[in-house]
Symmetry: D2
Subunit: 101 residues, 4 copies
């Protein structure tokens, strides 16, 4: 099974720039050992179980909860059985369809 | 603390109509005892902790996992300290601003 | 055709409470004449064309652009041919499946 | 101004694999000349105006509308004044904070 999760999480009570807070989350993800990819709009992780993905969300939240009064988060899951390594393969499949035609 | 979570979750391998699958999730939420509101685009729940919200997501997923090959989900959190019952109060606050002016 | 759009839009450079800004958007939507429903996590509109929904998003943005330095928005579309009035019917269909069983 | 838009759009009446449909959208974006980045969960574009971003969404939808009965789309905007080229700079800022510490 492949669980792809794209998410952004940030405080909305800290003014216009929130990169200090986002950095905490990325550092947590980097330390967690999970497969991940940074994008300009969030972070994409890939796990083998749904529970593992939920535990990353929980850990991300815990990096912010102590000093943030209001936190916003937007998430998307794409979960598919009988597949793996879709972080790489999903994009290769699209790129092949488009640019090899 | 008030954790508002809006989410939609559905299989994408079951054709155009997925209301049978969505119904399972709503039934699970209804049985869970959590405060919730159905909308035409998903379900909004309110919990007092982040963990409780995550456990609802986990339970929703488990109603689909056995017979769905591909599941998509989109979620938004709005988490705020020192507030409660925002499912009601957030809307009242907006409505008051707009229509009592 | 039925275009359902759920969206939230708010500035992130104005501190913890943004209801003044959200109210502008709701007021714009209310004045636009489009079918809509307020939820604790955003606004759901229903239109007959995709273009009409895009024009509402554009108008919502224009209520904020002058005095907001940073704006965040999260949106979901569910577009379906050969259906109408889903703002009501989608929920009735789910509720019937769950509670009339 | 920098308008970052992350979005996914796909039919839900075409079974488990939708890469043929997603490819149409990517091809449209590639031909449009807009700055973009493919991710395993969608496409990120950067434009200088909100209208330009809306026109990309409109074009993406038009690649699917003829032969899809039901279309789902999830989108996020991050719009910021007085900044540019954030597709690159936003990530550099985060990476610098994390890995140069």
């Amino acid at each position: 099974m492949s669980v792809l999760l794209e998410f952004a999480m940030f405080p909305t009570d800290k003014g216009e720039s929130v990169s200090d807070y986002v950095s905490r989350i990325i550092l947590f993800i980097d330390n967690s050992g999970v497969k991940y990819q940074l994008t300009p709009m969030g972070t994409i992780i890939e796990t083998e179980t749904f529970d593992e993905a939920l535990s990353i969300i929980k850990g991300a939240y815990e990096t912010l909860e102590n000093d943030c009064n209001r936190i916003y988060s937007s998430l998307k899951f794409d979960i598919r059985k009988n597949q793996d390594d879709r972080m790489v393969k999903k994009m290769q499949s699209i790129e092949k369809k488009i640019f090899n035609k």
